[in-house]
Symmetry: C2
């Protein structure tokens, strides 16, 4: 019992300072759509992805000739080639490239976590792969939900709940925080019909207004890739597994 | 539709700055045990209750001869007469008195909210009464969960979810935030057996270690009083209803 590692869930980047000291591995989650897009990018051969927090940083990289994605409020920022639609990374032009990405919530969460020992990227699309890898590490794991403008969101919580449920079922992990218990409850209610469960969620409604139903369906479909993006020297790379 | 008012849930005092501007009524919730104790205090004839954030403030009031309660980490602070057990207010000695109270989470949340138009106190013990009153106000309502050391907790969320469910069912309210949707889901899962549902919650486990099972059972039993404490000039008084 006392040898079990912890799997906990942090609902918002705002709350992350209350958690960060206690964990070896931070799992950053932004299901709609940054971390789903990042997984898609590596699945399609991107070599390296540099997450930046501000549009100014994104512009600096663009001026240096990098391929740069920038999204705010669900839309590609004017003047950039890519946003955070997973489909925008399903193209040969990203293969072998270094991509720079700035999004409303997800890349900020990655940068918040970057001083931690290990930072990996999860979405529903790489759920099984990341869960299996985490189960093998014997480390304390924190799922950091990117949320929406620092507020709680359902889709990141459900993804975190799914990872928690997997790790708890191994018998080698325990959850102490009520947020982790709630995330697991919410995942168990949602798992048989994630799309239906989220139909009333604020963020999905927001994206639906932007006509992103195809993206949403992709992002909410589990286990489409086995890539695990990991942070190494301030850039994400595909983990060798 | 466009005339409906909002009922939303904020999971932590840390997140309150992201919400506060948009709401007319703030409902402060600290089920285990500050707001349950405050409701019990007014139910037992307390005239006025002054919430203070720090032990130093509590000591200043004590030096002036006030009846003072102070709790930290679930225990009465040494040198004070009262803590945040509802049972400590079920005595004739509080009748007609002004009580000063400082607790780990609840009184801080009250003081955070005090610049807002209207601040009222909810717990499961006055659930029906507060829900009915809120339904009549035609105002935007935010449930502010006190949480545990600024983190999410289940029991406050379930109470907030119960209030949300009541107001949404009137047809005159709507929820836009995912936190509100999640609180409602969690309440609906919990409502038939709140004590059982919370058996794994971190805070209940913490209190059980302090032998507070009698308090917990009281605090998790809905509708034991119809008092509605309301903030007036920095002190709580019983609302005339």
């Amino acid at each position: 019992m006392e040898n079990r590692k912890r799997i906990e869930v942090c609902f918002s980047p705002y709350l992350f300072p209350l958690f960060k000291e206690e964990f070896d591995i931070i799992v950053v989650i932004d299901v709609l759509r940054a971390t789903s897009a990042i997984c898609a990018a590596f699945d399609n051969g991107v070599e390296k992805l540099i997450p930046v927090s501000t549009i100014d940083e994104a512009k600096e990289y663009q001026a240096k000739g990098f391929l740069v994605g920038a999204e705010r409020q669900g839309k590609i920022v004017e003047g950039f080639d890519l946003g955070n639609s997973p489909y925008s990374y399903m193209t040969d032009k990203v293969k072998g490239e270094t991509v720079v990405l700035s999004t409303t919530n997800g890349t900020r969460a990655i940068n918040l976590a970057k001083d931690c020992e290990t930072v990996v990227i999860a979405s529903l699309t790489n759920l099984e792969s990341i869960s299996e890898w985490l189960a093998e590490q014997n480390k304390n794991v924190l799922c950091l939900c990117s949320g929406w403008q620092n507020k709680f969101n359902l889709e990141d919580t459900i993804c975190a709940g799914a990872i928690s449920e997997y790790l708890l079922n191994t018998g080698n992990f325990t959850s102490n925080e009520d947020s982790s218990i709630a995330a697991k409850y919410l995942y168990l209610s949602a798992k048989d019909n994630i799309l239906g469960y989220l139909k009333s969620s604020s963020h999905r409604r927001r994206l639906r207004n932007l006509n992103l139903n195809k993206d949403i369906k992709y992002c909410l479909t589990p286990n489409q890739t086995d890539v695990i993006p990991v942070l190494k020297d301030d850039a994400l790379v595909k983990m060798d597994i």
